[in-house]
């Protein structure tokens, strides 16, 4: 099926429109971050700044402890992603490979949790953490997500297709169950695990809702919260500073995306 030249041209044109629709806002964001306030007030529609002014970035770094927030956010996201994988492997293995009474019930529990969003649980969880005096600590940010229903489900699906003979051979060699899970099966699942790790890391790095609800001050504030605070200033909106904050917030994720695009895409499409 060869396409006619004109059809190809139309397709190219539409693809360009799509690219523009999705890239232009970013370009606008970056351009704004290099403007100054008087410029924005006077000529809001100007596409490019008159001179490249880094004042907005200086203000962002002066107002927010960017490195600290970024460190907290990365640590939190990394811990969650790591814990999810560490727990999903044995759980998925048990559900996929072991026959035991109550397996259906356990699997059903995992599936049920897929439907429960964090937005439905935050009130009771907040109350629980408040009673335990754990609000505003890293525990409150990490613990609720240490187990991932989705991760467990995906690992189980991936392990179902692993031949039983391989596991029995390892058992006969004298390997313990956990050894089998972490040293024999995990390497076979590497692509799935890498994708899971990345998706989880990016999701929790970007998370605004849970840290907003679970933190009360600066102690374990994450970067999305910090950047969102740039908006709430009380006198006049300073778009250039907000956009500069946006750039700082988005760059690491976009860089990660550029480097690991394959894995992120695979994770998203694998779920279907």
């Amino acid at each position: 099926m060869r396409e006619s030249k004109s059809r190809h041209a139309v397709i190219l044109a539409l693809a360009c429109v799509a690219a523009v629709a999705w890239l232009l806002p970013y370009a606008w964001m970056v351009a704004t971050s290099f403007k100054t306030l008087p410029e924005i007030v006077a000529h809001p529609g100007a596409p490019l700044p008159e001179h490249v002014d880094t004042g907005a970035y200086r203000e962002v770094f002066a107002t927010l402890p960017v490195a600290r927030y970024m460190g907290i956010t990365a640590f939190m996201a990394g811990t969650i992603a790591f814990a999810q994988i560490a727990l999903a492997l044995p759980a998925g293995y048990a559900l996929a490979k072991l026959r035991f009474v109550g397996r259906g019930f356990a699997f059903g529990t995992v599936l049920a949790c897929l439907l429960v969003p964090a937005q439905a649980t935050f009130v009771p969880v907040f109350l629980l953490f408040a009673k335990a005096h754990v609000v505003n600590t890293m525990t409150a940010l990490v613990l609720p997500f240490a187990a991932s229903a989705l991760g467990t489900f995906l690992v189980r699906q991936a392990l179902v297709s692993v031949p039983d003979e391989m596991i029995e051979a390892a058992r006969m060699d004298g390997a313990g169950e956990l050894t089998i899970v972490y040293r024999v099966l995990a390497p076979m699942l590497k692509p799935t695990l890498v994708s899971l790790f990345l998706v989880s890391f990016v999701f929790h790095y970007n998370d605004y809702f849970w840290p907003l609800v679970m933190t009360t001050d600066d102690h374990v504030r994450t970067l999305p919260l910090g950047v969102a605070l740039l908006r709430e200033q009380g006198t006049g909106v300073r778009w250039h500073i907000v956009m500069a904050g946006n750039v700082v917030l988005s760059l690491p994720v976009l860089a990660l995306f550029a480097m690991a695009q394959k894995h992120l895409v695979r994770a998203v499409s694998a779920r279907s």
């Binding site: 099926m1 397709i11 693809a15 690219a19 629709a21 999705w22 806002p25 606008w28 007030v41 809001p44 529609g45 999903a88 044995p90 759980a91 293995y93 048990a94 072991l98 035991f100 356990a106 529990t109 995992v110 049920a112 949790c113 439907l115 429960v116 969003p117 964090a118 937005q119 439905a120 649980t121 009130v123 009771p124 969880v125 907040f126 109350l127 629980l128 613990l143 240490a146 187990a147 467990t152 169950e177 970007n206 605004y208 907003l212 950047v227 969102a228 908006r231 778009w239 907000v242 956009m243 946006n246 917030l249 976009l254 995306f257 550029a258 895409v265 998203v268 499409s269 779920r271 279907s272």
Partner: protein, 290 residues
Amino acid sequence: MTPRSTWHPWAMLGPTLALLSVFFLLPIGVAAYESLFSWDMLTPPRYVGTANYAALAAHGELLRVALRTLGYSVLVVAGTMTLGLGLALLLDRPGRFFGFVRASVFSAYVVSWVAVALLWMWILDGNSGAVGGLTRWLGLGTVSLLGDPRWALPALAVVAVWKLTGYAMIVFLAGLQGVPRSLLEAAALDGAGPWARFRHVTMPLLAPTASFVATTSLVTSFQAFDVVRIMTQGGPARATELFVYAIYEQIFLNLSVGRASALTVVFFVLLLAVAGLQLRVWRARAGASR
């Protein structure tokens, strides 16, 4: 395979089941319980039975929140599925250029909602944003979409579509891989044009994918919070007060745990119902088309 000891499976599942139960299943029960009390966390709680539900339903406020959330979700799902499918069909070609465009569209899905919301707040700003400039250039004067109760929610839906289309596109692309070329070629040989090929070969095979995208998009957009909190804070005149934002306001601004819990229970029930209905409809469609 039989486990080596009977406690092995439970030891392996233990932490996962414990964490999931405590943080996902138990809270729903707790919310149902708390919804029967009036409590502001600073003074002792008071039992009020179903008064919280009654107060929420008074003046039709609860119904309005539910309808708004449903309306928003429908807009977002329809938008992302249409655009996602369209872009998948358009960009399912080899080459660096198409790969670049696909990456651009998907990149919006990858960045934080904070970044997207702040960016679009700026673009949609009546005074100094691009949209304001555009409407002035078109002679329509200064238009502030986010300040108009009729347009604020659709504006948020457009922003959500911009962010989430990449996801739908990627899933549809994967689904398209599952459409055998041989079938398409056979149809072409039979004289079917591109549209006919799409309707009779591609679409039926994509039905399960579409169902998946529809359900997950619906569940995601039902949970919308960040975009409301950052762009409109529930206004103007409650026009963008979606379910999760209403729960947030009840507990953090009104400190009314009982009302927040009651809203949570209704939210969860509604979510289950809508997701279940959606799945059944799509499965029936997929079954009927075979």
